[in-house]
C-alpha cells in the first residue's frame, strides 16, 4: 500500500522525440504525483502536445523513459532489456489513461450516449444495462443528461467537449490527459468545459492539461510547467511562475498571453 502511494502517476525521464531530423522533445523530465493537476503551457510548437501524446503512446519515444503508475509505457522490461509491446498490450495500457482532444473527436455516427458507452461495451465487454446506466450518470455529471440522444453535429462545441470528457471518464481512467481542450471553442463556451474540469480536479483526478487558459492554471493546477522548443524552461507552483517568472523566455511568453 505504501509503495503505490509513493510511486508517481507519471514519471518522465529524459523523454526525447524526433520526427525525422526534427527534434521536438529534447529530454523532458518531470513527475506528476497522484491526484496532482499539472498544466503544460508554452508557445505553439514547443512540444507540449507531443509530450502529452507520448504519455499514452500515441507517439513513440525516440529516447528516454516514461512510466505511468510505475508501469513503463509501450515497452516491457525483462532481464535488463526492453521489449516493444504488442498492440494489444499497448491498448490495455491506454484503457487507464483518458484523453481529451482539442477537436473533440467524438464519433459523429453515434449519439452522445453511444459515444460514452462505446469503449466500456467493446473494450471492457461490460453488460449493456450497466454501461448505459453509468454513461447516463456521466452525462448528467457534465450537465448533458438531456442531450444523451443527440448526435455530435447537433451539439455546440462546448457540449461536444463535455461529452468527450464523459467518454474518457467512462473507462474509469487513473489519469486524464487534456490536449488544449478549449482551444477550438468559441470564447463563450470555454467556461462550461473548464467548470467540468475543475470539478474533476476537485474530486482528486490526476490530470495533465495542455492549455492557454492561465486563469484555469492559476486556480486549479498544483503545478505549472512552461515548455519552449522541446525543453522544460521553468516549472513550479502556478501562482509563483505566473506572477514572478524567473526565466526570460517565460517572461516573454507570459507578457503576451496574460
Amino acid at each position: 500500500m505504501s509503495e503505490t502511494t509513493t510511486v508517481p502517476m507519471v514519471l518522465a525521464e529524459q523523454v526525447t522525440k524526433s520526427f525525422g531530423s526534427n527534434e521536438v522533445l529534447k529530454g523532458i523530465s518531470l513527475e506528476v504525483k497522484r491526484g496532482e493537476v499539472m498544466c503544460l503551457v508554452g508557445p505553439s510548437g514547443s512540444g507540449k502536445s507531443t509530450f502529452l501524446r507520448c504519455i499514452n503512446h500515441l507517439e513513440v519515444l525516440s529516447a528516454g523513459r516514461l512510466s505511468v503508475d510505475g508501469e513503463l509505457i509501450g515497452y516491457r522490461e525483462a532481464n535488463g532489456k526492453l521489449y516493444e509491446m504488442a498492440p494489444k498490450e499497448a491498448a490495455k495500457q491506454r484503457r487507464d489513461i483518458g484523453m481529451v482532444f482539442q477537436r473533440f473527436n467524438l464519433f459523429p455516427h453515434m449519439t452522445a450516449l453511444q459515444n460514452v458507452m462505446e469503449a466500456p461495451l467493446r473494450v471492457k465487454g461490460l453488460a449493456k444495462a450497466q454501461v448505459e446506466q453509468t454513461a447516463r450518470t456521466l452525462l448528467d455529471r457534465v450537465g448533458l443528461a438531456d442531450r444523451a440522444d443527440y448526435y455530435p453535429a447537433h451539439l455546440s462545441g462546448g457540449q461536444q467537449q463535455r461529452v468527450a470528457i464523459a467518454r474518457a471518464l467512462a473507462m474509469e481512467p487513473k489519469l486524464m490527459l487534456f490536449d488544449e481542450p478549449t482551444s477550438a471553442l468559441d470564447p463563450e463556451l470555454v467556461g462550461e468545459v473548464l467548470d467540468v474540469m475543475k470539478g474533476l480536479a476537485k474530486e482528486g483526478m490526476t490530470m495533465i492539461v495542455v492549455t492557454h487558459e492561465m486563469g484555469f492554471a492559476r486556480e486549479v493546477a498544483d503545478s505549472l510547467v512552461f515548455m519552449d522548443a522541446g525543453v522544460v524552461v521553468e516549472a513550479g507552483v502556478p501562482s509563483e511562475v505566473l506572477s514572478n517568472p524567473q526565466h526570460k523566455r517565460t517572461q516573454a511568453f507570459l507578457s503576451k498571453v496574460l
Binding site: N56, L58, P87, K88, A91, K92, R94, R95, I97, G98, M99, F101, R103, F104, N105, L106, F107, P108, H109, M110, T111, E118, A119, R122, V123, R141, V142, G143, L144, Y151, P152, A153, H154, L155, S156, G157, G158, Q159, Q160, R162, A164, R167, A168, M171, E188, L189, G191, E192, V193, D195, V196, K198, G199, L200, K202, E203
Partner: protein, 340 residues
Amino acid sequence: MSTLNRDGAATVPASPEGSSSDPIKAIRLRHPWRVVFAVLLVAGFALFVIDAAFRPAFDWPSVGKYIFDRRISMAALVTLQLTVYSMVIAIILGVILAVMRLSPNPVVKSLAWFYLWIFRGTPVYVQLTLWGLIALIYTTIDIGIPFAEPWVSFSTQAALNTFALAIIGLALNEAAYMAEIVRAGLLSVDKGQEEAAVALGMSWSQTMRRVILPQSMRVIIPPTGNEVISMLKTTSLVTAVPFSLELFTRSRDISAETFNPIPLLIVASIWYLFFTSILMVGQYFLEKRFARGLGDRQPDKKSFGAPTGAITGIVPVVGAGQPTVVVPPKNDAPGNRGQL
C-alpha cells in the same frame, strides 16, 4: 479591433430605413424562350413515342409476349444472381485489397498494387474469356504441400462450371475497382477518429469496424451503387466464358430462333431497367442510413433543413472531421453548464 470614434463608441454605418422593409412589388421577369424550348422538347418527345408505338420493327406484340416468357424471367433471375454473388465477393475482396494498400508492409502494399494493375489494366471481356479457358491452363486443382504429392486433386473442368467461372471473372475484375473506392472511403475519415478510438483502448479491428468503416460508408456507398448497376449490365459479357443463361445471351438465343431480334432486345432492356430502378431506390435508403448524425444533410439533397430550436445552422465540412456548429448564445444558459 474596430475603429473607435471620439466618444469611444464603435463606428457602425447607420441604416436610415431601419427594419421597416416592405415586400418587393415588381413585375416578374418573363422567360419566353424557356417556354418555347420546353414546348419544342415535349412535342419532339411525344412525336418519338407515338412513332415508336406504331413502328412495326419494334413489334410490340412480341415484346408483350416475351416479357414474361419463362425462359426470359429465369434468365433475369440468373442475371440478378450473377450480379449479387460477384458483387458480394468483389466488396469483400475490395475491402481486403484496400486495407492491404494502406498496410505499412511494403510487400503487402506492392502485392495489392500489382493486383490492381493487372485487373484494371485489361478488359473484362478478355479476362472472362481467359477464365473460360482456365481448364486448359490449369488442368487440375491440387490441395497439399507444394512440390509434394497432393492430398486432394480434382479436375478444373469438373470443379468449376461456367456459372462459377463467370462469377469468379466478374468478381475478381470488380474487386480492383472496389478496392479503390474503399481506400478513398477509409482515407476520407479524419485521423482524429482513429486516435480517439485508440486512446480509448480499442484494438485495430475494433477501430476499423466500429469507427472508421461506418464513417467511410458515406463516401463508399454512392460509387458502390454505381458499380452494382454497372455490374448488372456487365453480366451481359459472360457470354465470353461462355455462359449463356443470363438475360442478354438468352434473349439473343431466342431471337436466333425467331429471326426477330429487336423486340427481344427491348425485353432484355426493360428487365435491366427494372432492376437498376430497384437498385437506385435501395441505394437511397442505404445512403440515408449511413448519413446518421451528420447534420441534417440527406443524400441527393442540398437543403440543410429548418433550424430546430437551439441550433441555428449546421455546416458539415466534408473531410474536415468535425462539422462546424453555429449556436446562438442562449444555448449557453447557466442551466446548461457542466456541473460536477
